[in-house]
Amino acid sequence: MARGGRRLLSGVSLAVTRGTALSLHGRNGLGKTSLLRVLAGLLDPAEGRLIHDPEKTAYAGHGDAIKASLTVAEMLGFWADLYGAASIEPALLAFDLDAIAGRRGEALSAGQRRRCALARLALVNRPIWLLDEPTAALDQAGQAELCALLSGHLNAGGSALLVTHGAPPIDCPRLDLEAFRATPGEEAGAFAEALE
């Protein structure tokens, strides 16, 4: 797996069984986010392949996809339509958004934006969740809500991959990606011959 022509991780092989979560760890710049993006089908791996169908994954990245001039209810309604969910009720419930449902994106705090972005997961009916730093900007209550949402998803037979720096919001095994760090000299690309 490469980013900007540099090899980041190699030999990563992952399997997450139904109903379980896995938390990925590693220092900054190691390629955790890139790995999630590969798994989400947004990025092509430099080598190897994905066994699962990216259509089965839901991805929550750094971007919250909040529009300044739309209300929370409108934004959630849009994603609900797109994913064929019947109503936005589950999303409002999961993160207690009822009070701010009529508020526009520009009036939301960082934590509220985060809740709104994560609430989208409750509308997406896909079994594999890929969460990139989901707890960033969340307060205690928000973390508890995320924990409840995640356990509900896992109990229903879904699975999740989390990238976190602190403690993961839910009790789950941890995997340190440091072991897969590509050794220098393994650079990909047609012009790497210059290194010889």
């Binding site: 947004l42 839901a58 991805y59 971007g63 996809a65 001039s69 739309l70 849009f78 797109l82």
Partner: protein, 217 residues
């Protein structure tokens, strides 16, 4: 796709969406023209079809930059790419852009023609030309916007890329309006203009989606 269309229309019409800006810009250019050309009716009549077209083209260009750049910035584009085929997303967004730019400008063009001494019989051809030609502007523009998503402040570059692509549309569109204003037959250029628009509507979403995909990688 309908959901995305409605969302984009909402975004365009709310504050900061740029819908009003485009229309105001169109009005400004038309109002400024007589100051540059002179108030004589003959001179104005001869440039009216061309100015009304050129101003519509520039007004459509004005709001193109934000077509994908804002969605790419806040992470919406990734989410869209995961939720639906990007071709469909491009189609819906370009359609929303057309509905809030070209379609409205087409309705606005003939009344503004009065300010430029456009002959009355030229109003209908101008309307048809703008209505049938502006989809090409939006869909070609979507391709240009997709190419410049990765570029910060890509607005200038976008116009450099897109304006040469607008040449055939402008030629046929202004030709329809000019012939109409002179009372000549304008069927042939109008048919060519419509064909061009249809071709762009059909093909450009694929080119733009390919460019967006390359940008997400």
């Amino acid at each position: 796709m309908k959901a995305l269309l409605i969302r984009d229309l909402r975004l365009a019409l709310r504050s900061g969406g740029g819908f009003g800006l485009g229309l105001a810009f169109y009005l400004m250019v038309v109002v400024l023209t007589p100051f540059a050309i002179g108030p004589g009716r003959a001179g104005l009549t001869s440039v009216a079809p061309g100015i009304l077209w050129l101003a519509a083209l520039l007004a459509a260009l004005l709001t193109l930059e934000r077509l994908f750049a804002l969605d790419a910035e806040d992470g919406s584009l990734e989410q869209l790419a995961m939720a639906m085929p990007l071709e469909a997303a491009v189609f819906a967004k370009a359609l929303a852009h057309w509905l809030t730019s070209g379609a409205v400008l087409a309705a606005l063009g003939p009344p503004l023609g009065v300010l430029l001494a456009l002959p009355l019989e030229g109003a209908l051809p101008l309307f048809w030309a703008l209505l049938l030609g502006s989809p090409a502007l939006s869909f070609i523009g979507a391709f240009g916007a997709a190419l410049t998503v990765a570029v910060r402040r890509g607005g200038l570059l976008l116009s450099l890329l897109v304006l040469p692509l607008y040449v055939p549309t402008l030629i046929f569109g202004a030709e329809v309006a000019r012939r109409g204003a002179q009372g000549l037959d304008y069927q042939a250029p109008l048919a060519l203009l419509a064909a061009l628009s249809l071709g762009c509507v059909a093909a450009m979403p694929f080119a733009a989606a390919a460019a967006l995909r390359a940008g997400l990688r």
